[in-house]
Amino acid sequence: MTKLFFATDIHGSDICWSKFLNAGKFYEADVLILGGDMTGKAVVPFTHKGGKNYQVTLLEQVFEITNEDELADMKKRVRSRGYYPYLTTPDEMAELEKDPERVSKIFLAEVLKVVQQWMDLADKKFDGTDLKVYCSPGNDDMDEVDEIVRSSRRVLLVEGQVTPLDANHEMIASGWSNRTPWDTHREEDEDQLKVRYEAMISKLKDPRNAVFNVHVPPYKSGLDEAPELDKDLRPVLAGQSLKPVGSTALRKAIETTQPLLGLHGHIHEGRGAMKVGKTLCINPGSMYEQGTLLGALVNLGKDKIENYVLTSG
């Protein structure tokens, strides 16, 4: 029996990454799997005001920093929400206002710096252990992230691959999603997703005992309910109107193949476990900005799920 721990959508949160690395020992899991969307969504400027003074606007609240302790504390606070602190000056801020390309470069550099730190931490932590750690970046993660993950000794990049988990179970993995309103880094049309899934499924030795680690949830699974948005990306009817946004190609692939387990993310509000035919599909959800690592512990048996539970760590 293999005990796996799955978490997803940690979006740059240092706390969640540390918890993820500790989850193996804490939950006594054999395998750690991180679903997609590991990078953060915002860079927070720390504007230098002379001497040791900085001004920071975090969540629309202005903080005046007057010494190094406060600076360190504020950096930690920003990182705890998955955002990236960036020390700058009023002059640079004025220049950046006019130069969105440079902003993108800064963003990418900050994202990659943190991913590198995370990989270094994982390598250091797991050297000399048997714990397996798998990762497949999601639609929000830039392509450049892959190279850094690939360079890690202990975190294995499994995008597009069939990975043996134990003697009885294999895993296919993909962080690609169907189209979103945000035009993110790894999204494509359903027919392209179908090809992507079929390429991996065709290589499975025992599809019924497989794990589908696919970032996007299957369509209309209950794990893919998100607020309906208008053309300006505003939730309609105050967010009361929910609609399924999962992948139809994935749903079809699951219905046809009937693997043992589906591991999904993408929709942070979609926490749950549902059956699609005989397949148990899990979306542990995400509360990364609160520093809470939501996850799923699953005991894989031969031809069946021995047990599972959603965790909140």
């Binding site: 500790n22 969504k41 915002a42 993408h266």
Partner: protein, 549 residues
């Protein structure tokens, strides 16, 4: 957060419209269903209704602050259940939330059913000249049970349709309902007491086949005999306060539909959530006052209270004498009696019916979410959260529907005086809110890092976190309500059952109902915890925080 440094990523949605949020909160504190219904039952108090409305709103605004704050700190997390579980740990959150959001909602079913017939079915049947059917539907026993079943059928239909469809129905209902209410208020302010007297006498006969020629006078006499006393204004502060535990049946719910999806942008999100709920509370309070003044002007305040006293004295079984007006004196219906045009009457009654249809559909919405959350936490069978092929949560629905049918029967047939526990429907949820208020008070201290990295970290009152101050005031208010409900120590010093609110500790039914709910919740929690332990799942551990090294 400067947009300059935010990238395009999944979930980066813009703020929703405050007006939309207002609509859902406005429907939750529903003036025409919850309001008219509870006002009518409050015929025996001595505190003025207008000051009571204002004072209750002043307290409930702190509830709005508490919930807007918790949503800003812990969005998308599942509400009271998760907040309490994360802040207190252990089973407290489960037991309080399961009772408040699931079991208590069974008791709301016959109450919704009662409103369906009194607000929708009976007046419309009367308006269409179906006198016998109208009176039958207003009766006890079978009629109330049937209407409870109709309510359940409607709620099940809404669950099958899904919130995407129902949210639109609610929005259309809002506009239709508001139009109806404005017409009612217009009629009340533009007519005269004499016209009302004449309209009541003639229309009550044509609607319900009453033989009473002087309906107004007969009802007034019966009302005096039923000890109608509640004033419109006045009363000491203490007497006004004592009315609040009844009044909150109507207005304790502005937080009902509060949500926050997508990325939290900052303090603005807190303010938007606060604004949606606070405007709903404020506008509903003002409309309530306007309605009272209109009633006073044309129907006459004393007559309004007397008519209510006459009905409820009979409906609650204090007398077997059928009131002169053999149906609930629905204020909207009384208002349409001010016009002789039957078509206008029907149109206004139909418009006023949308207040029920836009509101009642969410009866089991929160329950379904709590059942799902508990099932995902393995504290209920896996099947509880299963969806059928059409995406309908059939089992969760049955968990609600089947017990609700039983409770509806107990209520409809008033078995062992079960109907006296109406306010326990509010009490059970208020106890859960009390848990949330305590959680809010201690949040900045128990979850310091989480609080300090939240959008409300800088919101302080005299140096204390706003959420703590608001939690103390709201929690204090809830504590007052709980003391009143359980003991009503000021006006019922002898502890005579069923007490001023019907649900004191002297009311055995109420205590059994509430006690059973908590006992079942505790049994589920500890039973499933033990079962999962045997299966190799330590539920304490899977909810515990992973150490960060």
């Amino acid at each position: 957060m400067s947009n300059l440094f935010v990238r395009k990523a999944t979930g980066m949605v813009r703020s929703w419209s405050v007006f939309d949020a207002f609509i859902y909160a406005f429907f939750s504190i529903n003036l025409v269903t919850l309001g008219f219904y509870s006002f009518s039952q409050m015929y025996y108090f001595s505190g003025g209704m207008i000051p009571a409305l204002l004072i209750s709103a002043a307290f409930i605004i702190f509830e709005v602050v508490v919930y807007a704050s918790l949503i800003a700190v812990m969005p998308r997390s599942g509400g009271d259940y998760v907040w309490q579980t994360r802040i207190f740990g252990g089973g407290i959150g489960f037991i309080l939330a399961i009772t408040g959001w699931w079991f208590t909602l069974w008791l709301w079913t016959p109450i919704y059913g009662d409103m369906l017939r009194q607000i929708v079915i009976t007046p419309l049947l009367g308006a269409f000249g179906m006198q016998q059917a109208a009176v039958w539907f207003a009766g006890q026993g079978n009629a109330l049970f049937l209407c409870s079943l109709l309510t359940l059928a409607f709620v099940a239909l809404v669950i099958i349709l899904g919130m995407k469809s129902y949210a639109r129905i609610q929005k259309y209902s809002f506009y239709a309902g508001m139009l109806g209410l404005l017409i009612v208020i217009f009629l009340l302010f533009t007519s005269s007491p004499d016209a009302f007297k004449a309209g009541l006498d003639s229309n009550s006969a044509s609607y319900f086949g009453t033989q009473q020629l002087r309906m107004y006078d007969a009802t007034a006499v019966a009302g005096v005999a039923a000890f109608a006393s509640t004033p419109l204004m006045g009363g000491s502060f203490a007497l006004i306060m004592v009315t609040l535990p009844y009044l909150v049946f109507f207005n304790l719910w502005p937080n009902w539909g509060a949500t926050l999806y997508g990325e939290v942008r900052g303090a603005t999100d807190y303010k938007r959530n606060f604004a949606g709920m606070a405007w709903a509370l404020g506008v509903t309070t003002l409309l309530g006052i306007l309605f009272f003044l209109g009633v006073d002007r044309t129907i006459g305040w004393d007559f309004y209270v007397q008519a209510n006293a006459t009905w409820w004295n009979y409906a609650w079984g204090y007398t077997t004498e059928v009131p002169p007006l053999p149906v609930w004196p629905n204020p909207a219906m009384l208002a349409v009696f001010l016009t002789d045009n039957r078509l206008v009457q029907i149109v206004v009654l139909l418009l006023m019916s949308t207040w029920w249809f836009g509101w009642a559909g969410t009866l089991f919405l929160s329950s379904t979410r709590v059942i799902f959350a508990a099932a995902f936490d393995r504290l209920l069978p896996e099947k509880a959260a299963e969806l059928n092929k059409n995406g309908t949560p059939v089992n969760a629905m049955l968990y609600m529907l089947l017990p609700a049918i039983l409770v509806s029967a107990l209520y409809a047939y008033n078995l062992a005086g079960f109907r006296s526990i109406t306010l326990a429907a509010t009490q059970g949820i208020a106890i859960m809110y009390f848990g949330t208020a305590i959680a809010a008070i201690i949040l900045p201290y128990k979850k310091k890092e989480l609080y300090e990295a939240s959008p409300i970290a800088q919101m302080k009152v005299l140096g204390f976190p706003l959420i703590t101050v608001a939690g103390l005031i709201f929690g204090g208010f809830l504590l007052f309500l709980l003391v009143e409900w359980f003991f009503d120590p000021w006006l019922n010093t002898a502890g005579v059952p069923p007490g001023l609110y019907g649900i004191s500790i002297a009311n055995t039914n109420s205590m059994i109902f509430l006690g059973s709910c908590y006992a079942i919740a505790a049994a589920i929690y500890y039973g499933f915890k033990a079962r999962r332990k045997k299966e190799g799942i330590d539920l304490d551990k899977v909810q515990a925080e992973i150490p960060v090294e």
